[in-house]
């Protein structure tokens, strides 16, 4: 197994700032917008984006929730891996709000497909956008594309893209791992 660094900490930070600015361009004061981090790994990115919006760009009252999609996945009983759930925490209604899904890696699009179903349990959003740090091009199973992307990557199926965060792995780095 070999791995190479796709993005180092500086590059990750530049990209996060750009993504935050792109969000501000489209959502201004975020009064009708809610951020939803997709469990399990999208929540780190979502928290970072929220922190940037609040601390650096001084936007108040940015709403952030976590959405777990385990019970909405389409591979229940089809995969050898047993699906374990994570916490969903959405303390606001999404009815008529602009929802921004945030996930670290967009691969087949099936997670986002599940998230689109799952979010309906919390109301009918006015619109849903997708922000991801890494967009794995040419690997989509469904017609789902990001509205905000950090970096587009052409990785083959045998390769894995792993995003590490200071919060859980001690560093902000994106790796491509050859399995």
């Amino acid at each position: 197994m070999s791995q190479k660094v796709l993005l180092n900490a500086t590059e990750v930070h530049i990209i996060l700032n750009r993504l935050a600015c792109q969000l501000i361009e489209n959502h201004e004061d975020f009064s009708d917008t809610v951020l939803i981090g997709i469990q399990p790994r999208g929540i780190f990115l979502a928290e970072r984006i929220k922190k940037l919006l609040t601390d650096t760009y001084k936007i108040e009252n940015v709403k952030l929730g976590y959405l777990d999609i385990t019970f909405f996945r389409d591979d229940f009983r089809r995969s050898e891996k047993i699906l374990a759930a994570n916490k969903t925490q959405i303390d606001f209604v999404v009815e008529n709000k602009k929802v921004v899904f945030i996930d670290d890696v967009l691969y087949t699009g099936r997670s986002i497909n599940a998230a689109l179903t799952a979010i309906q349990s919390f109301g009918r959003p006015e619109e849903v956008e997708l922000l991801c740090l890494i967009d794995r091009r040419f690997s989509r199973h469904l017609p789902i594309q990001p509205d905000y992307r950090g970096r587009q990557v052409d990785a083959i199926n045998e390769e894995k893209v792993k995003v590490s965060w200071v919060e859980n792995e001690g560093e902000d780095t994106v790796y491509v791992i050859n399995t």
């Binding site: 385990t70 019970f71 909405f72 996945r73 229940f76 009983r77 089809r78 699906l83 349990s121």
Partner: protein
């Protein structure tokens, strides 16, 4: 661990502490789901479940049916009163006929102890025991422990007394297994005539004095007197039973601490528990009912994940 060690839930006797922890962790998520504006998830959309009730039930049947529907399973219901069982069909024949209709899971209540275990040796579908005679009622015990954990933080180390008709109660047996497995201290309390002979061999203490039992415990699980299972008279009168083993507000207020009151239902108000206790903040009876749906969703979800396509 993210998988149950068993294919069926026949009784608490057959599962592990880790299984219980996994069920509770999953039930936490389902409890959040059933408090959403839309309380349904699509996980089991290609699973069919048969609810076979060979004995009367209201809340267990409704709770299972709701749990199954909230997981998007297809559900068929069967009750013995309106079936060919009355015409002399055997249990295996009845179930095999239902399974021929491509059913993946069976939830069964049966008056005979061991009916679930017997069936598990003859059919392929996953079985959930929803009560077999005076033997086990595992989902009730799990939702009881889940409710204790919710109210008191954890089950381990807590003192729990089960009061009432221990002899005829499947809830008592399953609760004893579940509580002991999780490290709780368990006493049983009730008339000597309603106490099984070798109950101490399960690691529980017998306390015949209700006041002493309540003074000792953190949680009192009040059971109903199961008149329908009594062929002889086990105590002189209901009035005398209530005087000795009924819990009322005055008794609770005379204790040094506030204990948690549970009841698996149906309640005989004024017999084992008075209305002011049942409706008080100390009682978590309706929480138990709500948790029942979440716990049953977790059990069905985890068992269904083991049914391969």
């Amino acid at each position: 661990m993210s998988e149950l060690s068993v294919k069926h839930l026949l009784g608490i006797k057959y599962i592990t502490k880790e299984d219980i922890e996994l069920i509770f962790k999953t039930a936490d998520h389902f409890k959040e789901v059933i408090n959403r504006p839309i309380k349904k998830v699509p996980s089991l959309r290609d699973i069919t479940i048969a609810n076979l009730f060979f004995e009367n039930s209201t809340r267990t049947k409704l709770s299972f049916e709701l749990a199954e529907k909230r997981l998007s399973a297809d559900v068929i219901n069967f009750s013995a009163a309106a079936s060919s069982v009355k015409k002399g069909e055997t249990l295996i024949d009845t179930v095999n006929n239902i399974l021929s209709m491509k059913v993946d899971m069976v939830v069964m209540r049966h008056p005979n102890p061991g009916a679930g275990v017997f069936l598990s040796k003859h059919i392929n579908a996953s079985i959930v025991n929803a009560g077999d005679g005076a033997h086990e009622h595992p989902t009730q015990a799990l939702l009881d422990s889940f409710s204790i954990r919710e109210r008191l933080g954890e089950v381990a180390g807590k003192n729990v007394v089960i009061v009432g008709d221990i002899l005829h109660s499947r809830v008592a047996l399953s609760n004893i297994y579940a509580l002991k497995l999780q490290g709780a201290n368990v006493k049983v309390c009730g008339p000597k005539t309603l106490m099984p002979k070798y109950i101490e061999s399960l690691g529980v203490e017998v306390e015949l004095d209700l006041r002493k039992a309540l003074q000792w415990c953190d949680v009192a699980n009040m059971l109903r007197v199961q008149n329908e299972r009594m062929d002889i008279s086990y105590f002189p009168s209901t009035r005398e039973y209530t005087q000795q083993y009924g819990v009322n507000k005055a008794l609770l207020e005379s204790l040094d601490k506030e204990i948690v009151i549970m009841h698996p239902g149906p309640i005989n108000r004024g017999v084992e528990i008075t209305s002011d206790v049942a409706d008080s903040g100390q009682a978590i009876i309706l929480d138990q009912v709500e948790n029942g749906v979440a716990v049953r969703m977790a059990i069905i979800y985890l068992l269904a994940s083991k049914i391969k396509q």
